[in-house]
Amino acid sequence: MVVGLEVHVHLLTKTKLFCPCSTEFGATPNANTCPVCLALPGALPVLNEAAVRLAARAAYALGCTVHEDSVFARKNYFYPDLPKGYQISQFDRPLATDGRLALEDGADEARSVRIHRVHMEEDAGKSVHDRYAGSTAIDLNRSGTPLIEIVSEPDLRSAADAGAFLRRLKQILEYTEVSDANMEEGSLRVDANISTRGPGASTLGTKTEIKNMNSFSGVERALEVEFARQCALLERGERVVQQTMLWDAGSGTVRPARSKEESHDYRYFPEPDLPPLRLTREWLASVRTDLPELPAARRQRFVESFSLPAYDADVLTATRDLADYFEAVVASGAEAKVAANWVMGEVLARLKDAGIGIRELAARPAQLGVLLAMVRDGAVSHSAAKAIFAQMAKTGEDPAVIADREGLRQVGDDSQLSAWIDGVLAAHPDEAGRFLAGEKKLQGVLVGMVMKASGGKADPKKVNQLLAGRVAT
């Protein structure tokens, strides 16, 4: 299987690529449109600098060369949700070229995918086909939304690698705050080119293009299905026809798009309404220095500076927000591995249960740090800490406040502990006698009894110490 991907990604700008209309999602149809994105006669595009900045940032994050000069071009075709009758895109002079994305950290070239190019373009509007009898309804709110198109070289050799590529790409785009990169919501779209090469063959087979996937796993499944179809054809001695295939997630099948009677001839030419895009070296340098730490570097740092297992580093750096949260917990004084266990355990569980993101978690990292310090200092037990966190996560209250109110503080005061111990020994003379006579294995049983008598508040470590002390005397 030989696969190359073309990924379209929405950029996180406030306004559209060529007009000051809002890019906000969910407005009433055509509310976010103006003379420019409606393509009214006489309207002209003016390029949004923030879109250029985000595009360049993504390109740098993918290791590309970003060019000082690039050129917008018109891609001409008729479609009712393409109001100008052409899409403003980049063609023979794209913003950036020649990048690389590693499928594994520290991987050799064989485990990385070359990025052919990254270019900027505008999105089309939306066509709704099933709402009005006999009519297609056009909503141009999305028309002119800024996109980058990321084109990989055909370096992928399995569906799983395609999935890995997309997950890593999504992570980079989120880290750089270039895009939400959400396939379900349409802010990331994938077209896959796939061909099949027999063992030992050096030339590429005829490729097909698969469209219409709406999840990463959908991309993986579609590639498997199309690969099987191509293999079966070749085994029967038939040929693969170059065409566009549509993935149907419901039935798990691909089918050819009805071939259009007219072959595409986009008649690209340089967009005369926009001067060539000229970026200064200083501007490019500022974009480059503004790049945040990328996921791979952060994973590596977590392993090296915090002595975390690779698995932990992977989980904790899944999103930039989660990694920031973890680092803030550590910064507040928590031991790294303890903090890691808590973030991967209690914190992620809470996010999953509540269906929220880390930013919406009421418990702030410094508060978790305080809680972990309380555990370390014996102020609360581990199990009490879990109960406290469950409340912090909902209310954002300080752990000490919860511990006090709920009476969850551990009692470490010798006289109180001794009183509880005395009570237990008195209530269980048989076990007490045997223990004091040297039957050490009974200590655990007695600690349990003391804990029970204390209502769980006794500090078990101290109870152990005190009990051991009784034998010695």
């Binding site: 409606l38 600098e49 009519s135 297609t136 001067p275």
Partner: protein, 104 residues
């Protein structure tokens, strides 16, 4: 490089223009007449350093990422041929099931 009737039909299809078959031969003749005058260009030496003919502009041509949106002085309904619930309506696409909601 003479234009044929096939070329004109192909180009008309790309441009979404219906050409009356009776008009086709004369159109071919007119276009060839015009293009004949363009042959002179082929004889002119050009090279990459003579440039791509685009006008140098001093304009940066960039805008900052902010509103407000450009206002419309009249509602979309006043100029649109057919609207419903804020949507522009067009005859249903024959191939819509193939293309989904995505243009090619």
């Amino acid at each position: 490089m003479a234009v044929s009737e096939f070329d004109v039909r192909h180009v008309a299809q790309l441009a979404r223009l219906a050409i009356d078959p009776a008009r086709l031969p004369s159109l071919v003749q007119e276009l060839n007449g015009i293009l004949g005058h363009m042959e002179a260009l082929g004889a002119v030496e050009t090279s990459p350093e003579t440039g791509d003919g685009r006008l140098e502009t001093t304009a940066a041509g960039l805008r900052s990422d902010e509103g407000p949106p450009i206002p419309l002085a009249a509602a979309r309904e006043t100029f649109a041929p057919q609207m419903a619930d804020g949507f522009f309506l067009v005859p249903r696409l024959a191939t819509h099931e193939d293309l989904g909601s995505r243009s090619p």
